[in-house]
């Protein structure tokens, strides 16, 4: 199996990095040369079997791929409808899907002759995965993280430091993922000639949305093979959570051509549908520009980015990847949202019925899948991308429970 998608010419993105009208490259001129270099090196890597072999080997021996496709029997029985399968990205080394992308981009970093890496992180999963890849490749690593996220995802901060990364707290704005991306981009403006920015989601300027999607597409490709092996056909429905949207893009992209498979992306519904109370741009936002790309975004009438909220640090972001905006516009993927409370319930339910503690991010997808399973027949198969494990969230969930009591 090829580790990266061999993008046929008739497929998106186009040469300008556009998925239909979405995407593009809205960044300062200073970054253009580095983005052009990244595009060229990535194109070359696609045709380089040594690059692909090395990535494949790392995914197998270092990450532990393929990740299992697990039939959640007790969860399915509890919902009383369709069979729910979990794509166990939580079992990857570092506990989430993020490592699929960071290893690929670390290989690209080395290929570009750069020795230093910067990254942003929200939940800390991408930060840990970047720090891990950098330790493995001997690269210097600096991770920008909002102070609010440092507080609510403390275990991951400790891991990043253990792995030799420097964690730089970001104190601007709401001190969450959006602010961390701003700071990482500002740093990159100064260090671009020596440093690669390992962006963690399918967002940002071209070519990042495509590169991250391609490295994450191993999720969907494995799922296709595993479904054929285990159930003898493709699933009826895929469900994945969407913040920036990297696990969802990785799961969905290989299925786009299989029209019989329905797909649902689940955004963070937060506390309510009121402005500022959620982080669901595909559900409540409109197309605009943020962080270098044209896509759905939460903005006011002047184009100023709005504050957002999610219980989950990894989904607490006002933008979304441009390919998701495209899939929304064509109707290929249906997008909906799940609020904080339902995600917390799903978090508990999976822990108690299956013995798996899911990440709060993935719990949004689980909650939606459980509802959809109840409406479907036992013949149907739903695959949920269980994008990460929930150890990082245990303390914060405990704190929120105490606060509520």
């Amino acid at each position: 199996m090829s580790p990266v998608n061999e993008n046929p010419v008739n497929e998106f993105p186009d040469a300008a990095g556009r998925f239909g009208p979405f995407g593009g490259r809205y960044v300062p001129e200073t970054l253009t040369a580095a983005l052009d270099q990244l595009t060229a090196q990535y194109e070359a890597a696609l045709g380089d079997t040594a690059f692909q072999d090395e990535l494949n080997q790392l995914l197998r021996d270092f990450v532990g791929r393929p990740s299992p496709l697990y039939f959640a029997r007790r969860l399915s029985e509890k919902c009383g409808g369709a069979k729910i399968y979990l794509k166990r990205e939580d079992l990857n080394h570092t506990g989430a899907h993020k490592i699929n992308n960071t290893l690929g981009q670390a290989l690209l970093t080395r290929r570009m002759g750069k020795r230093r890496v910067i990254a942003e992180t929200g939940a800390g999963q991408h930060g840990v995965a970047t720090a891990t890849a950098c330790a493995n490749f001997g690269l210097e690593c600096i991770v920008y993280m909002g102070e609010e996220d440092i507080r609510r995802q403390a275990p991951n901060v400790f891991s990043m430091k253990l792995l030799g990364a420097e964690v730089r707290p970001v104190s601007t704005g709401a001190r969450t993922l959006r602010d961390a991306i701003n700071e990482a981009m500002r740093e990159w403006m100064s260090s671009v000639e020596t440093t690669h920015y390992i962006l963690g989601s399918v967002v940002g300027p071209s070519p990042f949305p495509r590169i991250v999607r391609d490295f994450q597409s191993v999720i969907g490709r494995e799922t296709i093979e595993q479904c054929r092996d285990q159930i003898g056909r493709l699933p009826d429905l895929l469900v994945a959570c969407v913040g920036g949207g990297s696990n969802a893009a990785g799961m969905f992209h290989p299925f786009v051509e299989h029209a019989e498979v329905a797909m649902v992306g689940v955004e963070a519904g937060g506390r309510s549908a009121a402005p500022g109370e959620h982080a669901a741009p595909l559900s409540y936002g409109r197309p605009g520009v943020l962080h270098g790309s044209f896509s759905y975004v939460m903005q006011d009438d002047d184009g100023q980015t709005s504050d957002v909220h999610s219980i989950s640090a990894g989904l607490d972001y006002p933008g979304v990847g441009p390919e998701h905006s495209y899939w929304k516009s064509t109707g290929r993927v249906e997008y909906t949202s799940c609020d904080d409370a339902r995600a917390m319930q799903a978090f508990d339910t999976l822990a108690r019925t299956e013995g798996i503690i899911p990440a709060l991010e993935s719990s949004h997808a689980l909650a939606q899948a459980m509802d959809l399973a109840a409406q479907r027949s036992e013949e149907d198969v739903i695959v949920v991308c269980l994008s990460g494990r929930g150890d990082k969230d245990a303390a914060e969930v405990g704190r929120l429970r105490e606060e509520a009591n």
Partner: protein
């Protein structure tokens, strides 16, 4: 011929250089912005750059970021900025351009932004997150309206690309002095003068250098190869002191700095 074209034709024929200060609209309020623009022009500024506050400015350092945050916290909106400018620009003996994120221009509507800016007496726009590949639609609207769309060249821009950017820019070319974000620097890159001089030989468009510039010695070094110099953070930092000082003192200091820079550039 736009107001900016006329300005540079005039300056070149008299052998003088343009001093172009940057201020953030609405910092600390729009009334002060109008006063500071008058002070700057009275002190010798040839053209003024007005920053439209943006929530996520990735090309800006801490000083300008903080000024944007102050203005946005007070709820300054683009329409209010245009309203203030429409009253102020007729009293200024210098053109005004806006520095504005494409996120704002897109949301406002490309044609509406250009039309309303022009009605407010604005002569052009610098859109720092709109590289030449993405600028086609806006460039066309600007061209039709004789509204300058000022593009940027940076130290990381390959030379042949710099020439292409110069060809599609109007008004002047914004040469970014450093690889990085806005903010005062003690030293500027050693190859800056050579790089600007190289580009100077390949375009007739006026070239103005910005980012990092704050001192008279910068002005003396760069003025010979440039048509103008842009100073942002050093001005915005002084305006931020209005929180502790009287507005009149701040205006006087900003004026003194302008006089000093204009003199150094035209020695």
């Amino acid at each position: 011929m736009s107001a900016i074209d006329q300005l540079f034709t005039q300056l070149r024929s008299s052998g003088r250089k343009a001093f172009m200060p940057f201020v953030t609209a609405g910092d600390p309020d729009l009334e002060f912005t109008a006063r500071v623009l008058r002070q700057l022009v009275d002190s010798g500024a040839s053209i003024c750059e007005v920053g439209i506050p943006y929530s996520d400015p990735i090309a800006d350092g801490p000083v300008i970021q903080a000024s944007y945050t102050r203005a946005l916290d007070r709820g300054v909106a683009v329409r209010d900025i245009f309203k203030t400018l429409s009253k102020t620009t007729p009293t200024l003996a210098a053109p005004v351009v806006t520095m504005v994120s494409y996120a704002i221009v897109y949301r406002y509507g490309l044609a509406a932004y250009v039309e309303e800016a022009q009605e407010a007496g604005v002569a052009g726009a610098i859109v720092p997150d709109l590289p030449v590949e993405e600028a086609g639609e806006l460039a066309e609207i600007c061209r039709a309206a004789d509204f300058s769309l000022i593009q940027l060249v940076t130290p990381t821009t390959p030379r042949e690309r710099a020439v292409r950017i110069a060809e599609s820019s109007s008004g002047f070319l914004y040469y970014v002095s450093v690889t990085g974000i806005t903010g005062e620097r003690t030293e500027l890159p050693s190859d800056l003068v050579d790089n600007v001089a190289w580009l100077r030989g390949r375009t007739d468009l006026p070239i103005c250098i910005g980012f990092g510039i704050s001192r008279p010695e910068h002005a003396r070094l760069l003025a010979p190869v440039a048509d103008g110099l842009i100073v942002g953070s050093a001005i915005v930092r002084r305006i931020a002191e209005v929180a502790e000082k009287s507005p009149d003192d701040v205006l006087r200091e900003v004026g003194e700095m302008t006089v000093e820079m204009v003199a150094a550039m035209n020695e």
